[in-house]
């Protein structure tokens, strides 16, 4: 079966000598919702830049739905939609002009482009802004505009480079719903994000990139199964001077709050049993960090030690 994306031996060295990507191999299956994670400067945006031909590669091959960007660039581009990290539209054009022009670049006739623009603007809650200049939009609206623009030519592969950066929680969740919907309709999605909760919630498969190399590439379930320890924050009714949790590593945060490291083999029941036995009442409990976040930090640190 044709892969949505196949990258083999990708390398990129910029003219200033910085080697941003150091031999990446990556495959994304058709229909996948794929997370590409990495710290700032890890090589994510360079990789995306090469796939979308905004960055000239130094070495390696990239195929989008079987079309090699070296030999069949036009077809590779036709299958690809890109939502970049930075706003890259004319601030003085109206939303309608931006969308219709983008469709025109892909050969979509003007009448059809106007129809698609209306549909996408409505789906993304921008219909009432259709004839406004892009510069008048809020940050969240601009992000949605870029998603609409990337979908104007109905690509099979959509790459989103931090699409929800700076977007408020409510809007972020509505964008997640929209992305899930288009993924269910068959569009393969590759997502980079710093909100690991977002990756955990949306993505089936994941790759972690660090210093220009892929250091983890697996499915989300297998990755989360590797988490052998979680840290919880517990709010206690009684003062923290009175609690006893001998079998667990704990840290006191303040008079009524403690942090507890719970290993997978231990389970949570023991924490509650021990606290009840010492006369403590747990008022509330939460994860210290997102589970994927803990793993991400652990994997990156381990990779750097090696």
């Amino acid at each position: 079966m044709t892969k949505a994306l196949e990258i083999v031996g990708l390398e990129k060295t910029y003219s200033n000598g910085v080697q941003a990507v150091k031999g990446i191999d990556l495959t994304v299956e058709k229909g996948d919702f794929f997370a590409l994670l990495g710290a700032n400067g890890a090589g994510k945006s360079t990789t995306i830049g090469v796939i979308s031909s905004l960055v000239n590669k130094t070495k390696g091959t990239v195929k989008v739905f079987g079309h090699d960007i070296d030999t069949d660039l036009g077809k590779a581009k036709t299958n690809l939609g890109l939502v970049p990290q930075e706003f890259n539209f004319s601030q003085f054009e109206t939303l309608n002009q931006i969308l219709v022009n983008q469709a025109g670049y892909y050969g979509v006739p003007r009448a059809e482009a106007h129809k698609r623009a209306d549909e996408l603007l409505a789906q993304l809650g921008l219909a009432d802004k259709k004839d406004k200049q892009a510069r008048t939009l809020s940050g969240g609206m601009k992000r949605r505009l870029m998603i609409a623009r990337a979908l104007m030519h109905k690509p099979q592969l959509l790459i989103l480079d931090e699409p929800t950066a700076g977007v408020d929680i409510e809007l972020r969740r509505s964008m997640w719903e929209f992305l899930k919907e288009i993924n269910q309709q068959g569009v393969t999605i590759i997502l980079t994000t710093h909100y690991l909760e977002e990756a955990e919630m949306l993505c089936k498969n994941i790759a972690i990139i660090d210093k220009g190399q892929i250091i983890e590439n697996t499915n989300m379930k297998s990755l989360l199964a590797k988490l052998d320890k979680e840290t919880f924050i517990l709010d206690l009714k009684q003062p923290t001077s009175a609690f006893s949790l001998d079998d667990y590593t704990t840290r006191v945060i303040d008079d009524h709050t403690i942090e507890v490291d719970v290993e997978k083999s231990q389970g949570l029941n023991g924490v509650f049993d021990a606290l009840s036995a010492s006369g403590n009442t747990v008022l509330s409990m939460r994860n210290k960090a997102n589970r994927l976040e803990e793993l991400f930090v652990a994997i990156v640190e381990k990779g750097r030690e090696q």
């Binding site: 031909s53 601030q91 892909y106």
Partner: protein, 255 residues
């Protein structure tokens, strides 16, 4: 092929919408500037100069002034528009799409030609308030104005590719284009110059454009018309090749 035609039409319409949206900056200034030229050089000073090339001075300079406005506007349209797309990164809209390089070059060139032609028409209409324009060969007029606009639109595109700031797109017009235009036979016949300077003037491409255009109106020219068209077409070919190569390699627009 139909996809490519749609893409070309899209870039061209986008460019036309851009310069008409900001008409106060793009269409009004040349109208004011050229009206001043007509009043000062044509009426006030021109009346004291007398005939040139067998015509009164006003009749003689009108074609040159129209051409001067076409040259500067077709150049600055593409230079500022393409540089703005680089500056705002909206050039990436084109780079990620399957638009072939030659369509990008043709699209921007077409946009520059459209503005050059619009300004040329406005200035021609204004000139009618000062002089009765005669037309010797309408085909030569249109061919010259369109081809000349193409030359300078391509020049503006190359300038924008290399530009790293808005200042960079005004250097060539200030230090190259304006002197060449003023020395390009707009205000005088090169036959008035000493032989040596007449020879030097042959290396100024604008001489050929202004004279071909003047020939279309008045039927007189300091240069051979066939040579003039050969020079203009030669420049278009060379500049198109350079612009194509620069954009295809991604100079200034790809990392």
């Amino acid at each position: 092929m139909s996809n490519q035609f749609t893409a070309l039409k899209t870039i061209w319409i986008k460019e036309c919408i851009r310069f008409t949206r900001i008409w106060v900056q793009t269409l009004v200034p040349p109208a004011i500037t050229m009206s001043l030229y007509f009043v000062i050089f044509g009426n006030l000073i021109g009346s004291r100069i007398g005939d040139m090339g067998g015509f009164n001075y006003m009749e003689f300079i009108v074609p040159g002034l129209i051409m001067m406005s076409v040259i500067t506007n077709s150049y600055s349209n593409v230079a500022s528009s393409f540089y703005s797309t680089k500056f705002q990164k909206s050039i990436e809209e084109l780079l990620v799409s399957p638009v072939p390089t030659y369509i990008i070059v043709l699209g921007y060139m077409g946009g520059g030609m459209a503005r050059g032609l619009c300004v040329g028409i406005i200035v021609t209409i204004l000139s009618l308030f000062f002089v009765d324009i005669q037309i010797h060969n309408v085909a030569v007029i249109f061919a010259t104005v369109l081809l000349t606009a193409a030359v300078f639109a391509l020049g503006g595109l190359i300038n924008a590719v290399y530009a790293n700031s808005f200042d960079d797109i005004s250097i060539i017009p200030t230090f190259v284009l304006t002197p060449l235009t003023y020395l390009g036979g707009v205000f005088y016949s090169i036959t008035l110059l000493p032989d040596f300077w007449q020879g030097v003037s042959q290396f100024n491409p604008i001489i050929y454009m202004v004279n071909a255009f003047r020939y279309g109106f008045l039927g007189v020219s300091d240069v051979d018309i066939t040579t003039a068209f050969a020079v203009i077409i030669g420049f278009i070919s060379a500049l198109f090749a350079v612009a194509y190569r620069l954009i295809d390699k991604g100079v200034g627009i790809r990392h």
